[in-house]
Each structure stands twice: as structure tokens, then as C-alpha cells.
């Protein structure tokens, strides 16, 4: 199926929804495709081949000459001989080296690719032998990470240097060499797969000595050629002149044949460029190339949607409004289909001098859009299969030089979090090294004892020593995972570099006696563990802010996973605000032809023309267009394309990805104006905020907006341009709602701006004297649905009470006496399916419903939330909202609204999550509708939405060493562009339980567990969910104790990676959503559950386990600089009253709120300098701001608070809590390590767990 897309629309009974499928699905729909040979025809993109050919026969003929020879293969001939010249002339021994990789090529893909990887890149794909030769030795250098690439470059450019260097290399690895000699035998037994990292380099060396391969050179020559391309990854300047020139020429002839004929044969590179532009011109002049298409592509897409409302609005009155638009949309779709080729061509031209329209369509008949299977390719895959098993082989293209370090790391360093990289590795380093002075054989049982090593630890650590004293057993191992690192490690240690990997690994397994460790919480924030990949992959991997997995080491089989008793799942934040995001405009979005995966950094290039999908292992062709790199303006380096360099990219999608023209941004506000609402006074805030942000609403010139208010009747507002003032239309028939004037209720924002402003000014006072207490929310929503269904968009519902009239009316279900019950909490699920059905209808019409619930009484959020849950909306809840009585809530609403109105938004979105064959997804968490097994339908997507997915392992992953996950989010931007945002995450597969434990991402695991617990409490009961949470800790810790430690201990032992697990689970149990015994209003509880379901991990973690800082003694020690402001970084305190001293002041960051607790005998200096009051007694009870005082400590405190604030989308409210004030209970209930009347303290909880384990 095609990507984030594919299957037909859920409820699309009458209308044609946006076409979500890529060409694969649309293939059928592309019927009209091939027919028109004019450029205007839809043909080009939909059916890639025929029209391209049809269009430019002359082009086609010309290149076909070139292509028939097969550029790649042609190249290889001269270069082979050339390289032969190189190595034979320069150094003789390496010659053998050259050979070995080739053999290896047949043996194990991953090995060979990796081993060759880093160094091989020096060449652009076509000198196989020469550089490979370098590989086995130089790869050591490479991974030492201290050796910049540039030095390599030099080596290669001047052979003399290279030879000079090679002894250096061998000096660096005397031990390694020794190892070769020793373990040649073991090498024979060396598994052929799944050793992607460095040690792989060594076996090559061994093979060299065994010299099995002298004769294989020739036979493998071609193979090596193909293999070598996978490794190609160096910045262009380096490759030896001959090959480059050749390539230039090749590209020249290959893709701009037109200009070739036009301007003659250019001979220099300068000419090349000119030549391109020349061809561009030709293209434009070409009658076929649609000169006028270069006008404005947007315009063409704009027109249809403009017309659609008109037609649809012809039908007024009751619900029949939907049929006509259908037909209309059909027409539109067809109409738009006739234009895409122009659009596409234009996009191609945006590349400047690269004319991709002709070239790309001509030479590669099987570009990624075609669906038919190619036998030939499958055969090739078959040939490869011995080596392909290890798949997803690392693509070592880590030249940082490219494009000014535009790097995923940058992404992670966006506002929300400073780059976490160094955190896990830094301190643990010393620990393992002294611990393993000699390579002890990895025998199993190891006495348990704190300072001594655990078996798992030992396993991982032992190889570490191999750098010092190699011993063959090390390599005979059964633990591919643990052994991936020794190589790297030994290198880095022998080079004096900091070892990153190996140390992180054992550290995370270091056993911690939980009951004895008093300060379990680290002083610094907990960062996501870095997956145990090699450096290159690590750099390329997706930022943990967007994409996290609960286990950074994926267990090999479901059996292993079950043994570990840990949840396996993904946490996604796909539409996060990014400071930097590569946006790619391209004719053909390169995707796997069988599984529709987007090309990503973890695919392997088999040769320059083919790449292997890392999810399904299919071998695909590289389309011609992909050979050109728009960033470096070079040709023939598909591995340097931004798609392959960034794991988070965004594509501008072609019309293949639409079923209808992109919708405009449409916003509808549905406002409660009953007495209750007017009393609460939210209208003033909303109208003010809206009129302030009217210009900042995301959208383009087509943006439309509308208003509906309701009490016991429904009021529409006619805002049609030309009216002197807004016209209110009242519909009192709430049983059968109809739209009075369907065409003038949703109006263009810019045309009717004055009217809208008038309305916003008038609205707060319009209902000031209303006596209507009823609320007909259901009918109002039905009306909103009717209004929105022709276009889709966003409905924002403001509700202040229980709906009491018409469809969807609700009864109060909460029994206040049960609020603190420890037994059963009922009514967590919806009371009626009305809102769910409505949400599904809305979702089908690409409409999302966002709910703002501002009530002071029970409003049955459990039922109301359904309207947002299944339509991919979001939920905001402001308990006991009142604009004067509760100013902090009012302020929060104001700030939230600002963010809500101005934040990015994506319309008619779908998200598809793919994972490597063998894994499967079974349960999704978040706000969306699961349309088919892996396709989430999101009517709207906003940057604050997070998702979670549970995974299971269906097939054993033994034959792969890496697994990848890819999410593709296809959406229409507010500017009417269809875009696809793709994130790819790559993780290693491990076979031992210890490694699984070593890779636990405890925060992700907790968030996933929280999501599962919410499901459980709704479908079963709250107490079940709580039990399940406790059992999760008990099971995982006892499994760890009995399997990894192998000792039955009375002490409660956890690996370091899991040491916070019990604490976090306890925090969850005390969270509003799951707590019992403490009085919790049902709506509060349900809201907390909604938050858990749809918050991204970073925010959810703060909600579960707040951060506590002491702020009365902020210093600049360890401070960081953000935008020339110094932000102090006080250490984290554990959440216990024992940390609070009366002399101090503490800040608690709960995600949605900050509390500053001021101790009774707090230093007056602090109170005066920071809070602005002379002494403790004069601090007011309700204080929500830090005054801007001109003192150092005030500045520090403020910059710290601002920094915390900036890291989250919704600005939290600050509460200054005096010790003694009644508000302090609010603060104290977040101190989760302490005992409350109803719940354990942390220590008690540990004892409880211990008891459970021993049972």
C-alpha cells in the first residue's frame, strides 16, 4: 500500500476525500494518465513512463544510447583498470586488502559494507578495488572518531601519503594484527551476518591472510562494484579526478540530452553548468514543456476549491447539502489531475540548473512510482541474499562537512532540550576500564556483589579489553551485540579517544540496590539513552525528541521480549516544531516499491543505481532524478541527497498524494453563550485573543472562518462581504438542524475582516443579559459538522457546562462522595456514543474538533472528550474557570489561546508507521482514528500532539542486526501545500537479555505504560490498571533478578537503566489519573487521562514526575547560555519534603504549572530581591508573577523560569506558594516520594515490590 495513505476513506460515502495514496493506489485512478501526450496531461507523474517517452522522443533516443551501455558498468571498466594501476603501483600489501572486501562481499553484507564503509566513500562509486583496500585498515582510524575525514582524503589523493600512513595504522593496532593471526580459525566460524560494526574489519584482514580470495577478484569484480557504492559517502571534492570527470561527463550526457544537441558538447565543468541552464531554457522553449506552466502552480490548484463551496452552497436548507458537492469534487479532482505535470515540472525546475523533467522520466522507466514487480530485480536480490540478511547495513556517510552540518542533532537542540548526547557516556567511562584489567574469559556465573561485575556487564565489558590483549574467545562469542563494540572500543582506546559506546553499555547495566540507594534521582535531567549504534548511524538517527522507543535494543524474538517483561513500543512526536528541517522538492519521491517506505539514511545502496529497502529488503532502482544532488550540485551521488542524509525530512508532495485539491485553512468557532458561559466570562478573553491573532492564524489567502454560538438555540452569523454588520441567524429547531445560508457562514478571512472584527467586538456583550441556562451542544456540533463537511478544517468548541438539550445530552454521573473512594471509580468511559459517532463523521470529512471545557461543575468530560479523541482534535480543560475569580486560569486560557491560534497546523492528514519486517504494531495511543491496520487518520495535526504505538515481534529478527521504524505524516499545510514529513529511527537488535535491559529507555517505557494503563482503566477498571502498573515493575525487576543476575537475592536490584522505574511508577500511581484515596474530581481524572494519551513524551514526563529545583541560591555554576542570556542550572532535587528546608525557596516544574514554594524562614534577601516583598509575611497568598527586579538573583530566577517556560508550547502558570498557605497542599501532593494517607512512600513502595517479587 502506498504510504501514509492508501486505503479508501473511512466514512467517505458521498465525497471524494483527499487522495492519500501515492501512485500505487492512484495507479488505478490514473486511468486518464497515459492518454494525453501533451504536457498538460496528468500523465507524467501518474504513469511515469509512457508520457515521458511520448513527450520527448528525441530526448529519449539520445539518452537511451547512453543508458543502454549502463553508465555504471561502463564506468567500472576504465576505473577498474585505473585503480588496478593505483594499487599495484603504490603499495603491494594493500592490494590484498583490496581483494578481501570483495570476498567479504559475498559473505556478509553488513560486515563488508561497514568495514568498507567509512573509508570507501572516498570514491564516487566507481573505483572498487582501490579504496576498499584501504578499508580494512583505515576503518580503524575512522572510528576512532578523532581522525577527521580530511586526512583520509589526503591519503587517497596522494598515494605516497597513504603508504606512509599505513604503517601508522598497523602500529596503532599491533594487538589487532596479533589477533588476526591467532584467531584465523575462529574466523571461519564467524557468523556471516550481523556484525555490522568494526570487528568486521578484522575478519577481512584475516581473510586476507588466509588468502582464499586471490582468485575471486575477477569473479567478484562486479559484485564488489555494486557493493562499493553502498559505501560511497564522501564529500565530492575528494574523489580522484578521473572518475569525477567521467561522471560529470556521464551526467552531462545522461540527463541533459536536449542541451547536448542544442549547445554542442561542453568540455569543462563550467560548461556543464551553463549547459544545464541552457537546457532549462530549451525546456522552457520546448512547446511540450509548457512555458506558461511556469507561471504559478498554486493558482491552478487554488481554483477548484474556490469553486467548490460555491456549488455546495447552492443547496441550502436541511441536511441535503452534501450530495451536490460530491459531484463537484469529482469534477475538481479530474480537473486537477490534468494539471499536475506542469506543477511537477516546475518543481523540478526549482532546482535551478537541473532540468529533471525530461531526464528523469526518460532513462529510468521503473521509477519508484510504478507498481509492477520486476523479476529482474528480484533475481538480483536473490543473488545478494546471502549478504542481504543483515540488511539495513550501516551507511557510513558521516562526513560532517556536508551542507554546513545541517544535522539532526540540530533538530534536537531546538528549544525543548539541549543536546543530550554527552550525558550518558561521560562519567561511566572510568568504571569499566579498571574493572577489566585483563580479558577474562566470559564465563557465565559471576558472583553478585555490588562492586564486582555482573555477567551481562562482564560480557559487554570483556571485549573492551580485547584492544589491550586480544584473545580469541572474545571473538568466538555468541553475543553479536556485545561484540559490536569491542572493535570500536579498542580502537578508540588505543587511540586515546574517549570510548563512547562500550562504557555506556555496561553502565546502564550496573546493578543498583534500590533499597539502599537513597538518592536515586540524578542531579541532572534524564536524557534519552542513545541507541547502541555505530557513530555514523548514531549521528544520522532520528532525534529522540521526535521518535523514541521503549527499548533502544530491540530483542531478537518475542520470547526474549516476554522474558524481559518490558513493554515494547514507540513514542512519537511527529509534528514537533523544528528549528531546522530539510524540505525536499522533487519530482519523484523515492520510495520502496513493495512496502512504500521512503528512502532514508538507513537504506543501503547496492550500487549507484539500486538501493535496498531497510524495512522489507527489496532492491529498488534509484531514479535518475535522484542521482543529482541539488545541494552539492553534483551528479551520481545518490547517497548524498538530503533524504539520505537526514532522518527527519519533509517532502513537498505531488498531486499523486491528493484526492482533491489541498483544502484551505478553515476555522470554525462554536461558542457556548448560555448564562453559565456568560457568567464565566470566557468570551471576552477569547474574542480579544482572536482579534489580536486574526492575522497570525495560519493560512493563505483562502483562509476561511466562521462562528456559531449556541444556548438552547443555535445562532449562525452571516459575515458575507458587503454586509454592513454581522447578521445573526437563529435556528431554534434543534432536533433537525439546518444551515440557514450555507454559503455565507464560513467566509474568507481577508474579505470579511471588518465584519469579523465587528462581531468579535460585539460578541462578549451580546448575551450579557441572557437567562438561557440550557446548552444544546449536540445540535450545535451537528450544525458545525454540516458547515465544515464540504471542506474540512478545524472546529473549536467552547463549552462551559453539561449539554442538556437535544442530541447528545448528558446526565451528571459523578457522585461527589465517591471522589476519594479507594474502591471503584466509575464512569471513566463515555456515557453515549453520540460524540464518538460525530467525531468519526467529522474525521471522515477531514474535520477535527478541539474542545475547550471551561466549567466549574462536572461536565462529563469522559463523554465530551470523545469528540476530540477520534477526530484528532485536542482537549483543554480549565476547571472552575472564572475570568475574575480565578485570574490564573484566565491567564492560562489567554496564553493557551495565543499558542493555539498561532501554532502550525496541518489539515487532512494521515500518518502511517512502518517497521522492519518481523515487527508489527498492535495498539495505538493518541487522538486519531485508526483507519486501517497501520494508517492513522488525522483530520488535523498540531505540533503539540504526541502518539504512542505498541509493538510486538511477530517473526524472529535473528537475521538482521538493525531494525528501523518510519513514520510518514502526510498533511496539507496551512498554505495549501501537500507535504510529507518523514522520521526514521534505527535501532540495533540484540539477542541477550542483559542487552535488552541495558537499552531500556525508562521514560519512554513509563509513558507507554501510562497510555496502556489509561486504556486499561477505561476498558476494565482503575484498580486493574493500578495493579498492572505495579506488576510491570515487579515483573521486570524479578525477571532481571532471576535471568540476568542469576542469583536469588533478597535485595531489590535493578539495572541502572531501570533504576528510576519504580519511582516513576509510583509517581504514576499518585498521578491524578490513577490515584485513589485522594479526593479527585472525575473530570480532573479524565482530563489527566486525556493528557496522558495525547501529550508528547517530554511534557508527559514532567506531568508524571515533576522537577524540583532549589532557587534561592542560584549560581552561574554550570549555567548555559541561551540567546545571550545566562540560564542557571540548579540540580534536581528529589520530590520529598525532606529536601525542603524552611530556609529555602523551591521551584517545582509540573509541566502545566510552576509552583514556587517559599519556606517560612526563607532568606529575606531572596524574598526582597526576587519576589519583591520585604519579608515572608508580606507575600500575598495569590501571586502569579515574578516581578522584574534589577537584581542579580532576580535576573537569574527569571531567566531560569523563562527558560523552562520556553521549552514547552503551553505556557504554564506560576503559583507562589507560601509555606502555611492553604494552596500548599497542591504543592505537596506532587511530592511523590513522600507518604500520604492513601499511598505508599517511595521506600514503602520498594518494600512492597520486594515482597511481591519474593512471593
Amino acid at each position: 500500500m502506498s504510504a501514509p495513505a492508501g486505503s479508501p476513506h473511512p466514512a467517505a460515502s458521498t465525497r471524494i476525500p483527499p487522495k492519500l495514496g501515492g501512485a500505487a493506489v492512484s495507479g488505478a485512478a490514473a486511468g486518464p494518465g497515459p492518454a494525453p501526450h501533451q504536457q498538460n496531461g496528468p500523465a507524467q507523474n501518474q504513469m511515469q513512463v509512457p508520457p515521458g517517452y511520448g513527450l520527448h522522443p528525441q530526448n529519449y533516443n539520445v539518452p537511451s544510447g547512453h543508458y543502454s551501455q549502463g553508465p555504471g558498468k561502463t564506468t567500472s571498466l576504465p576505473l577498474d583498470s585505473q585503480s588496478g594501476g593505483y594499487y599495484s603501483g603504490v603499495y603491494t600489501i594493500p592490494t590484498q586488502n583490496v581483494v578481501t572486501p570483495n570476498t567479504a562481499n559475498q559473505q556478509s553484507g553488513a560486515q563488508q559494507i561497514y568495514g568498507r564503509g567509512p573509508p570507501a566513500p572516498h570514491i564516487v562509486g566507481s573505483t572498487p578495488g582501490y579504496f576498499q583496500g584501504a578499508a580494512s585498515s583505515s576503518s580503524h582510524l575512522h572510528t576512532s572518531a578523532s581522525q577527521p575525514y580530511s586526512s583520509f582524503v589526503n591519503h587517497y589523493n596522494s598515494p605516497a601519503m597513504y603508504s606512509a600512513n599505513s604503517p601508522a595504522v598497523s602500529q596503532g593496532f599491533p594487538s589487532t594484527c596479533g589477533h588476526y593471526a591467532v584467531s584465523t580459525v575462529s574466523n571461519a566460524a564467524y557468523p556471516s551476518v550481523s556484525y555490522p560494526s568494526l570487528p568486521a574489519g578484522d575478519p577481512y584482514g584475516q581473510q586476507m591472510f588466509t588468502s582464499q580470495n586471490a582468485s575471486t577478484i575477477r569473479s567478484v569484480r562486479e559484485n564488489s562494484f555494486s557493493g562499493q557504492n553502498t559505501a560511497v559517502s564522501h564529500p565530492s571534492p575528494l574523489p580522484p579526478p578521473p572518475s569525477q570527470q567521467y561522471h560529470q561527463q556521464l551526467s552531462l550526457s545522461g540527463y541533459s540530452p536536449l542541451s547536448w544537441s542544442a549547445s554542442g558538447l561542453p568540455s569543462t565543468q563550467d560548461n556543464l553548468i551553463r549547459n544545464h541552464s541552457g537546457s532549462l531554457a530549451t525546456a522552457n522553449n520546448n512547446p511540450n514543456a509548457v512555458a506558461e506552466s511556469s507561471s504559478c502552480p498554486v493558482m491552478q490548484t487554488v481554483q477548484p476549491p474556490e469553486s467548490s463551496p460555491v456549488v455546495s452552497t447552492v443547496v441550502s436548507g436541511a441536511s441535503s447539502a452534501r450530495a451536490p458537492p460530491t459531484a463537484n469534487h469529482l469534477v475538481e479532482t479530474v480537473a486537477s489531475v490534468t494539471q499536475p505535470s506542469e506543477l511537477l515540472q516546475q518543481k523540478g525546475m526549482q532546482y535551478g540548473d537541473y532540468v529533471n523533467n525530461q531526464a528523469s522520466s526518460a532513462p529510468t522507466p521503473l521509477s519508484s512510482t510504478s507498481d509492477d514487480e520486476e523479476e529482474e530485480e528480484d533475481e538480483e536480490a536473490g543473488v545478494d541474499s546471502s549478504s542481504t540478511t543483515s540488511s539495513a547495513s550501516p551507511m557510513p556517510n558521516s562526513y560532517d562537512a556536508l551542507e554546513g552540518g545541517s544535522y539532526p542533532d540540530m533538530l534536537s537542540s531546538s528549544a525543548s532540550s539541549p543536546a543530550p548526547d554527552p550525558a550518558p557516556e561521560s562519567d561511566p567511562a572510568p568504571a569499566p576500564v579498571p574493572a577489566v584489567p585483563q580479558p577474562s574469559k566470559t564465563t557465565k556465573p559471576f558472583g553478585y556483589g555490588y562492586p564486582t561485575l555482573q555477567p551481562g556487564y562482564q560480557n559487554a565489558a570483556a571485549p573492551l579489553s580485547s584492544g589491550v590483549q586480544p584473545s580469541s574467545p572474545v571473538y568466538s562469542g555468541f553475543q553479536p551485540y556485545a561484540q559490536q563494540y569491542p572493535g570500536m572500543n579498542q580502537l578508540s582506546s588505543s587511540f586515546g579517544g574517549l570510548s563512547l559506546q562500550s562504557s555506556a553499555q555496561p553502565e546502564s547495566l550496573r546493578p543498583v540496590n534500590l533499597t539502599q540507594e537513597r538518592n536515586i534521582l540524578p542531579m541532572t535531567p534524564v536524557w534519552a539513552p542513545v541507541p547502541n549504534l555505530n557513530l555514523d548511524l548514531k549521528k544520522l538517527n532520528c532525534s529522540p525528541d521526535s521518535f523514541r522507543c521503549t527499548l533502544t535494543n530491540i530483542p531478537q524474538s518475542q520470547v526474549l521480549l516476554n522474558k524481559a517483561k518490558l513493554p515494547l513500543g514507540l513514542l512519537l512526536h511527529p509534528f514537533r516544531d523544528l528549528t531546522q528541517l530539510p524540505v525536499i522538492t522533487s519530482n519523484t519521491i523515492v520510495r520502496c516499491r513493495s512496502c512504500r517506505t521512503y528512502i532514508n539514511p538507513f537504506v543501503s545502496f547496492i550500487d549507484q543505481r539500486r538501493w535496498k529497502c531497510n524495512l522489507c529488503y527489496r532492491v529498488n532502482d534509484v531514479p535518475e532524478e535522484f542521482m543529482y544532488n541539488p545541494l552539492t550540485r553534483s551528479y551520481g551521488e545518490p547517497h548524498k541527497r538530503p533524504e539520505v542524509q537526514n532522518s527527519t525530512v519533509e517532502f513537498i508532495a505531488s498531486s499523486d498524494y491528493m484526492l482533491r485539491p489541498p483544502q484551505p485553512a478553515v476555522y470554525l468557532f462554536v461558542l457556548d453563550v448560555s448564562h453559565n458561559a456568560v457568567e464565566a466570562g470566557y468570551l471576552t478573553i477569547l474574542c480579544q485573543s482572536l482579534s489580536e491573532n486574526l492575522d497570525k492564524l495560519p493560512g493563505d489567502s483562502r483562509t476561511r472562518i466562521g462562528f456559531v454560538t449556541f444556548d438552547s438555540t443555535i445562532h449562525f452569523y452571516n459575515l458575507q462581504e458587503g454586509l454592513s454588520q454581522p447578521q445573526m441567524l437563529i435556528v431554534s429547531d434543534i432536533d433537525d438542524v439546518f444551515l440557514p445560508t450555507p454559503d455565507s457562514l464560513l467566509v474568507n478571512l481577508y474579505e470579511s475582516k471588518e465584519l469579523i472584527k465587528d462581531l468579535l467586538n460585539a460578541l462578549p456583550n451580546m448575551f450579557i443579559n441572557t437567562r438561557e441556562t440550557h446548552s444544546a451542544l449536540g445540535p450545535a456540533l451537528q450544525a458545525a459538522f454540516k458547515l465544515m463537511s464540504p471542506t474540512g478544517g478545524r472546529v473549536s468548541v467552547f463549552q462551559t457546562q453539561l449539554p442538556s438539550l437535544g442530541a447528545g445530552l448528558l446526565q451528571s454521573r459523578e457522585d461527589p462522595n465517591q471522589r476519594s473512594s479507594t474502591k471503584v471509580v466509575q464512569h471513566l468511559g463515555p456515557a453515549t456514543d453520540f460524540y464518538k459517532k460525530l467525531a468519526l463523521d467529522c474525521s471522515g470529512q477531514q474535520t477535527a474538533v478541539d474542545l475547550f471545557l471551561l466549567s466549574s461543575q462536572y461536565s462529563d468530560l469522559a463523554s465530551l472528550a470523545c469528540m476530540s479523541k477520534y477526530s484528532a482534535g485536542c482537549i483543554y480543560y480549565y476547571p472552575s474557570f472564572h475570568y475574575t475569580h480565578n485570574p490564573s486560569q484566565a491567564e492560562k486560557l489567554q496564553k493557551d489561546l495565543k499558542r493555539y491560534l498561532t501554532r502550525k497546523i496541518g489539515f487532512e492528514a494521515v500518518m502511517r508507521i512502518r517497521c522492519t519486517k518481523g515487527l508489527s504494531m498492535h495498539t495505538f495511543h493518541g487522538n486519531f482514528f485508526v483507519r486501517s491496520t497501520d494508517l492513522l487518520s488525522l483530520a488535523n495535526i498540531n505540533p503539540d500532539a504526541g502518539f504512542a504505538v505498541q509493538l510486538s515481534i511477530e517473526e524472529s529478527l535473528t537475521d538482521t542486526s538493525l531494525v528501523c521504524f518510519q513514520t510518514a505524516l502526510l498533511y496539507t499545510s496551512s498554505k495549501g501545500e501537500r507535504r510529507i514529513r518523514v522520521h526514521t529511527l534505527c535501532l540495533p537488535v540484540v539477542s541477550s537479555l542483559a542487552d535488552v535491559y541495558a537499552g531500556v529507555d525508562v521514560q519512554a517505557a513509563i509513558c507507554l505504560l501510562a497510555n496502556m494503563a489509561v486504556d486499561r482503566s477505561i476498558s476494565s477498571s482503575l484498580s486493574d490498571a493500578r495493579d498492572a502498573l505495579v506488576n510491570a515493575v515487579v515483573d521486570s525487576l524479578s525477571a532481571y533478578g532471576s535471568t540476568v543476575l542469576n542469583v536469588q537475592h533478597s535485595a531489590l536490584i535493578a539495572p541502572t537503566s531501570l533504576k528510576l522505574f519504580p519511582l516513576y511508577v509510583l509517581a504514576l500511581l499518585k498521578q491524578k489519573a490513577f490515584r485513589t484515596g485522594t479526593s479527585t474530581r472525575l473530570d480532573d481524572r479524565v482530563y489527566a487521562m486525556c493528557q496522558i494519551k495525547c501529550q508528547p513524551l517530554v511534557h508527559l514526563m514532567k506531568m508524571i514526575h515533576p522537577n524540583l529545583y532549589r532557587i534561592d541560591r542560584l549560581t552561574d555554576e554550570g549555567a548555559i547560555h541561551v540567546n545571550d542570556r545566562v540560564v542557571p542550572q540548579p540540580p534536581l532535587q528529589k520530590l520529598s519534603a525532606e529536601k525542603l528546608t524552611r530556609e529555602g525557596a523551591f521551584l517545582m516544574d509540573c509541566g502545566s504549572a510552576f509552583y514556587i514554594w517559599v519556606g517560612k524562614s526563607c532568606d529575606n534577601n531572596f524574598i526582597e530581591d526576587v519576589l519583591g516583598y520585604p519579608n515572608f509575611a508580606s507575600i500575598p497568598q495569590k501571586m502569579a508573577h515574578l516581578p522584574e527586579l534589577d537584581t542579580l538573583s532576580s535576573e537569574r530566577a527569571r531567566s531560569f523560569v523563562t527558560w523552562l517556560r520556553d521549552s514547552r508550547p503551553l505556557s504554564p502558570i506560576l503559583h507562589v506558594v507560601k509555606d502555611e498557605s492553604p494552596a500548599k497542599t497542591e504543592f505537596f501532593q506532587h511530592l511523590i516520594e513522600d507518604r500520604t494517607e492513601a499511598a505508599f512512600s517511595y521506600y514503602e513502595f520498594l518494600l512492597h515490590i520486594q515482597q511481591q517479587i519474593c512471593k
Binding site: H9, P830, F929, V930, R931, S932
Partner: protein, 137 residues
């Protein structure tokens, strides 16, 4: 009289077999992405009550006609049908809920259930056939 009972049961059983097959086909359509969850569930929910009634009628009929063994055989399945129908949470759109069918392996368990029922009804079918053919007149 006896014959009439079994002929009726036979027909009813045929209908139930067809229904089970229909359930299986529709669910596997959903599994293969041929239809979306919404339409699948609305299709299936329509037939939950007819199935319930059909099976209850046979069960009651067997009780009335004092075929104890067959009655006891049918009883658990009939009870399960009723239980499943009653236990649908108030917020769900029926036994098959489109928002949940893809979660927690529900699809698989529905499928399994339909398969088991199919087997059961086939068994019953032959039992009725055998019993009917043996009864006099």
C-alpha cells in the same frame, strides 16, 4: 412434530453458518485493508442482534422440545452471545467498535470467535441433520 423442530433448527443453523462466514469474510477484509474500520463495524453490528436471536431461538426450541443434550450444547454459546451484547460499554457503537477494533488484538479475537462459531454451527448442523433423519415421520 419432532421433524418440524429439526427442520426448523436445520434452517436456522444454515443461516447462522452463513452469518459466521459473512463475519469472517468481513473481518478478513478489514485485516487486508479492503474496507475501513467504520464500514466494517457498521456492517457487522447490524447482524449481531439477528445472530443473537437466531441462536437463542434454537436453544429455547431445544429446551421446549426436551432435547437436553442439544440444549446444553447450545447453552454456553447462547450465553456468550447474550453476555457479549450486554457487556458493550455505553460509549461504544456496538459489539464491534471501529475505534477499538484495531487495538489490543481485538480484530484477531473477533476473528477467532467467528471461526469457533462457524465450527460449532457446522457441528450442530450435522447433529440436527442426523437427529432429524432418525426421528419417525
Amino acid at each position: 412434530m419432532e421433524a418440524v423442530v429439526f427442520v426448523f433448527s436445520l434452517l436456522d443453523c444454515c443461516a447462522l453458518i452463513f452469518l459466521s462466514v459473512y463475519f469472517i469474510i468481513t473481518l478478513s477484509d478489514l485485516e487486508c485493508d479492503y474496507i475501513n474500520a467504520r464500514s466494517c463495524c457498521s456492517k457487522l453490528n447490524k447482524w449481531v442482534i439477528p445472530e443473537l436471536i437466531g441462536h437463542t431461538v434454537v436453544t429455547v426450541l431445544m429446551l421446549v422440545s426436551l432435547h437436553w443434550f442439544i440444549f446444553l450444547l447450545n447453552l454456553p454459546v447462547a450465553t456468550w452471545n447474550v453476555y457479549r451484547f450486554i457487556m458493550v460499554p455505553s460509549g461504544n457503537m456496538g459489539v464491534f467498535d471501529p475505534t477499538e477494533i484495531h487495538n489490543r488484538g481485538q480484530l484477531k479475537s473477533h476473528m477467532k470467535e467467528a471461526m469457533i462459531k462457524l465450527g460449532f454451527h457446522l457441528l450442530c448442523f450435522f447433529m440436527y441433520l442426523y437427529s432429524g433423519s432418525r426421528c419417525p415421520g
